[in-house]
C-alpha cells in the first residue's frame, strides 16, 4: 500500500506539471481556488473566455481530452494519466466546467456512433474548446424517466423533422452543437421508439430560453424545436436504438473519476477555525466539533474512495462500483454544510449579498445552489436505485409501462 507514482507515472506528472507551471493563467489561480459551489465567476474577466483560451492553449500543446485518440484531438493517454493531469491542473480544472458535458458525454457518444467524416470534423474543435456541445435528453415529461421523452422526429426524405421541447440543458445558450434524443416511433414501448442525432444548435427552428433557477442564476435552459431539420447522416446509431446509444453517454458521465466532488467541508473547516461565537472560538465548541468531525470523515471517505478507484486505474483494472457513492454523499452534504454555516452566523446569516454577508456570502450562495446538485445528473433517489440494483443486485423497480406502446401510457396523474 503506497501513494507513490510508478516511474512512468512520475515522468508523466513531471512533464504535465512543468507545462502547467509555464502556461496556466496564474492570475486567476487564487480566485479559482477560492470559488465554491454556486459562485464560479471571475471578478474582472469573463470566465467563458478565460476557459476557452485555456482549453485552446492546452489543445495546441496536446493536453486536451487526454484519453481521446490523437486523430480526434486527444493525446491517447491512459486513464491514470488523465487522473494525474487533473491532479496537476488543480484549480485551473474548474475552467473545464463548461466543457464537461461535451468532453465527457457528447464526445464519447460521437466516437462510438458518428460517421468517420463527422468524427474528424467535429471532435478536434470540441476537444480544443472552440466548439461547445450540450446534451439534449431531459424533457418536462422525462427527467429521471428519460425514456418517457416526447420530442418527435419524423422522417421526410433524407431528413428528419424535429418538434418538441427539452429542458435542463446545461449551457445550451453558449453551445454550438448538441446531441439530441428523440422519439421516432410512439406506437412501440417507450425504450424501443427512440433515436439519437447530433445537430447544429444554430439550425433554424431551435430556440433557447434560459431558466431562472431557484438560486437566481441561469445555468440551464429550455430548448424548443419547431420543424427543425436534421440530415439523416447526423443520426447516431440505428433508428429505434436511441436508448442504447444514450446508455453509452450516461455510462461515460458516471465514469469520470478523480475530478473530485465538492463537499463544502474544507470551506466550513476554514470558516469555523477563525469564527468567534458568543462564548468563545467556534472550533472549541463541543457541538461544532462534533458536526465538523462527522463531515470530516465523509469528506475523507470520499477522497480515499476516489484514490482506491485511481489505484485500480493505475493497475490497468476497471474501478469497482465504489465511486458511484460520490455524488450521492457530496450532494446532500454540501447542502447540510451550507445550512450549518448559516446557523452559526445567527440572524446575520440571512444576508447574502457578497459585499455585506459573512465571508462574501459563499455559504449563502452554496445553500441556494445546493438543491440542484441533488437533482442534476441523476437524483439522489436514482443514485440509490443504481447502487441497490447494480452494486447490491436488488431487483429493478416494477415498470408498469414497460411493455405498453408509448402512446397508450397515461400522461396525467389526476383527472
Amino acid at each position: 500500500m503506497n501513494f507513490d507514482d510508478t516511474p512512468q507515472e512520475a515522468e508523466f506528472r513531471a512533464i504535465a506539471r512543468a507545462w502547467i507551471g509555464a502556461n496556466a493563467p496564474k492570475q486567476y489561480e487564487e480566485e479559482l481556488r477560492k470559488s465554491s459551489l454556486g459562485r464560479t465567476q471571475l471578478k474582472n474577466a469573463n470566465i467563458l473566455e478565460v476557459a476557452k483560451a485555456w482549453q485552446k492553449k492546452k489543445a495546441d500543446a496536446g493536453w486536451a481530452c487526454l484519453h481521446w485518440p490523437e486523430e480526434y484531438g486527444g493525446r491517447g493517454s491512459s486513464p491514470i494519466e488523465r487522473v494525474i493531469w487533473q491532479q496537476e491542473e488543480g484549480a485551473f480544472g474548474k475552467l473545464s466546467h463548461i466543457f464537461i458535458i461535451g468532453h465527457g458525454m457528447c464526445g464519447p457518444t460521437m466516437m462510438a456512433f458518428a460517421r468517420e467524416e463527422h468524427k474528424r470534423a467535429c471532435l478536434p474543435p470540441l476537444a480544443s474548446g472552440e466548439k461547445v456541445w450540450c446534451q439534449l435528453f431531459s424533457e418536462p415529461a422525462g427527467g429521471s424517466d428519460v425514456a418517457g421523452l416526447r420530442t418527435r422526429a419524423e422522417k421526410d426524405g433524407d431528413e428528419w423533422v424535429i418538434n418538441g421541447q427539452k429542458i435542463w440543458t446545461s449551457g445550451a445558450h453558449y453551445s454550438d452543437y448538441g446531441i439530441l434524443l428523440t422519439r421516432t416511433d410512439p406506437t412501440v414501448p417507450k425504450h424501443k421508439g427512440l433515436t439519437m442525432f447530433f445537430l447544429d444548435m444554430k439550425s433554424p427552428g431551435v430556440e433557447v430560453r434560459p431558466i431562472k433557477q431557484a438560486s437566481g442564476a441561469f445555468d440551464f435552459n429550455e430548448v424548443y424545436f419547431t420543424n427543425v431539420r436534421i440530415p439523416d447522416h447526423q443520426r447516431l446509431g440505428e433508428v429505434g436504438d436511441g436508448w442504447n446509444v444514450s446508455l453509452t453517454t450516461l455510462m461515460n458521465e458516471r465514469m469520470s473519476i478523480g475530478a473530485g466532488v465538492s463537499t463544502g467541508f474544507p470551506e466550513l473547516f476554514e470558516y469555523c477555525s477563525g469564527l468567534m461565537l458568543d462564548d468563545g472560538p467556534a472550533i472549541e465548541d463541543r457541538a461544532v466539533r462534533s458536526k465538523l468531525a462527522n463531515w470530516a470523515v465523509k469528506a475523507s471517505g470520499l477522497r480515499y474512495t476516489s484514490m482506491r478507484a485511481i489505484s485500480a486505474l493505475s493497475k490497468g483494472e476497471r474501478p469497482g462500483p465504489e465511486n458511484s457513492i460520490g455524488k450521492l454523499v457530496a450532494g446532500s452534504m454540501i447542502q447540510d454544510v451550507a445550512t450549518y454555516a448559516l446557523d452559526l452566523q445567527g440572524a446575520a446569516g440571512v444576508v447574502s449579498g457578497p459585499e455585506d454577508a459573512e465571508v462574501a456570502g459563499r455559504f449563502q450562495a452554496m445553500l441556494l445552489r445546493a438543491p440542484g446538485t441533488r437533482v442534476e445528473g441523476g437524483t439522489d433517489e436514482i443514485m440509490r436505485n443504481i447502487i441497490a440494483e447494480r452494486v447490491l443486485g436488488l431487483p429493478g423497480d416494477i415498470r408498469v409501462d414497460k411493455d405498453v406502446p408509448f402512446n397508450k401510457i397515461p400522461t396525467k396523474g389526476r383527472g
Binding site: M1, V297, G301, M307, I310, N385, I387, G393, P395
Partner: protein, 375 residues
C-alpha cells in the same frame, strides 16, 4: 499509486475468511453468546496454529513477522465472523503495548506466548464512566504494587496478564500516568465478570489489592504510550467494524432478496432498496477511511493520529448503521434471538464504546486536524 492491499495480503484475507467460515460459524458463536463458554478455545487455538495471532509480531518473538497490513486483513475477517475470542484485547492492545514499550525481557516473556495462543492479554484503562483521559485514572502505583479498581476491562475474566494504567503523580499533567504489566494469575487481583451488551466478548471488573506489578515503559510515559496504543487499536478495530458492516449489509441484502411480501421480493421496494444503498455508502466510506488508517499504521506515518481517529469514527458509524438497519430489513424476525442479526447489533454497539466513545474520537479528530493545520 497503489492504495490497496497487495495480492498476497488479499490472499491472506481469503485464507482467513475460509478458515473462519469453517471454524467460526454462527452456531459456534452462539455457544459463547448463550454463556456455555467464556470464549471459543478451539478457535483460539486454531488462530494460533494459522499464525494469525502473531502475524504482526516479529519472528524473534515467536511471531510471523509480517506486518500491520496483514493484521488489518485478518481483523476484517474476525469482524465479519463476529469471532468470540479475545483477539482485539490480546493482539491490538496488549501485544501492541508490549511492542511499543516492552523491555526485551517482557517481550520475550509475553509475545511468544501470545503468538502461540498460550497467553491472553488485555488493557486495563477505564475506571467506570468516562473516556480515555489521564484525570480518569485513579488507580495508584507505589512501591511496585497497584491499588484500585478497573472496569470495564475487555476479556478481563479470561486474561492471563494485563497492561494497567496507573497514577504515579499528581501534577495534573499527562506525565502522572505510568503503565504496568500485571500477571493476573499471580494473585493480588479479584476478578468479576460483568454482564455486558455483547456476551461474545466478555467484560470484567478487576480489583487490584497490593498487586505486584512491573513497569512497562518509563515512569511517566504511560499516557503517551497509551495514546499510541489506542491509535493503532483504533485502526485495527476499524477493520473489524468494516468486516462486520459488510456482513450485516450482506445479511440484509440476502434477506431482501429471499423474503416475499405483498407478492414481491421486499428488496424490490424502494424504501428497502434505498435503506440498503445507504448502508453500502456508510460501509464504503468506512472502508476507504480504514485503508488510509492502515497505510498510516503500516508506515508509521505522521498522519496516523488523524487517520486513526477518522477510521475509528467512520467505521463505528458504519457498523452501527448497518447492524441496526439489518434488523429493520429483517422485520420481526430480526428481533428474535434465533436470527443472527442481534449478534452484530450487539457487537457494533459494544465496539463503539470499547476504545472510548464516538464523542471522544470526534473531539480527538478535530484536535489532530487543527494541529496538522497549525504545523
Amino acid at each position: 499509486m497503489n492504495f490497496d492491499f497487495s495480492d498476497d495480503q488479499k490472499q491472506l484475507r481469503d485464507q482467513a475468511r475460509k478458515f473462519l467460515a469453517e471454524k467460526c460459524s454462527p452456531k459456534a458463536v452462539r455457544v459463547v453468546l448463550d454463556g456455555k463458554a467464556p470464549y471459543d478455545k478451539e478457535l483460539w487455538k486454531g488462530l494460533a496454529e494459522m499464525g494469525f495471532l502473531g502475524v504482526a509480531i516479529p519472528e524473534e518473538f515467536g511471531g510471523a513477522g509480517a506486518g500491520h497490513l496483514e493484521l488489518c486483513v485478518i481483523a476484517e475477517e474476525m469482524g465479519r465472523a463476529n469471532a468470540p475470542v479475545p483477539f482485539s484485547s490480546t493482539v491490538y492492545l496488549a501485544a501492541e503495548a508490549l511492542l511499543i514499550a516492552g523491555s526485551d525481557a517482557q517481550k520475550k516473556k509475553w509475545l511468544p506466548a501470545i503468538a502461540s495462543g498460550e497467553a491472553i492479554g488485555t488493557l486495563a484503562l477505564f475506571e467506570g464512566k468516562g473516556n480515555p483521559s489521564p484525570k480518569n485514572v485513579k488507580l495508584t502505583a507505589a512501591n511496585g504494587v497497584l491499588n484500585g479498581v478497573k472496569k470495564p476491562v475487555a476479556d478481563g475474566a479470561i486474561a492471563d496478564f494485563a497492561v494497567v494504567a496507573a497514577r504515579t503523580g499528581s501534577s495534573g499533567r499527562d506525565g502522572d500516568i505510568s503503565l504496568f504489566l500485571v500477571d493476573l494469575k499471580a494473585g493480588g487481583v479479584e476478578v468479576k465478570s460483568l454482564t455486558n451488551l455483547d456476551p461474545t466478548r466478555g467484560q470484567a471488573e478487576i480489583i487490584f489489592k497490593d498487586c505486584k506489578a512491573e513497569p512497562l515503559g518509563a515512569a511517566g510515559d504511560g499516557w503517551s504510550i497509551l495514546t499510541q496504543v489506542l491509535d493503532r487499536a483504533a485502526v485495527l478495530c476499524a477493520f473489524e467494524q468494516v468486516g462486520g458492516s459488510d456482513r450485516a449489509l450482506e445479511m440484509g441484502r440476502d434477506y431482501a432478496l429471499d423474503r416475499i411480501a405483498f407478492g414481491r421480493q421486499i428488496g424490490s421496494f424502494q424504501a428497502v432498496k434505498h435503506m440498503l444503498a445507504d448502508m453500502y455508502v456508510s460501509a464504503t466510506l468506512a472502508r476507504s477511511n480504514s485503508y488510509y488508517g492502515a497505510w498510516a499504521l503500516s508506515t508509521n506515518a505522521a498522519e496516523l493520529p488523524e487517520a486513526a481517529a477518522a477510521a475509528r469514527i467512520s467505521a463505528t458509524q458504519a457498523f452501527q448503521h448497518c447492524a441496526k438497519n439489518n434488523i429493520q430489513v429483517h422485520g420481526g424476525m430480526g428481533f428474535t434471538w434465533e436470527f443472527d442479526c442481534h449478534m452484530y447489533y450487539r457487537r457494533a454497539n459494544a465496539m463503539a464504546l470499547g476504545l472510548g466513545s464516538l464523542s471522544y474520537w470526534e473531539d480527538q479528530l478535530i484536535d489532530r486536524m487543527r494541529k496538522k493545520n497549525a504545523a
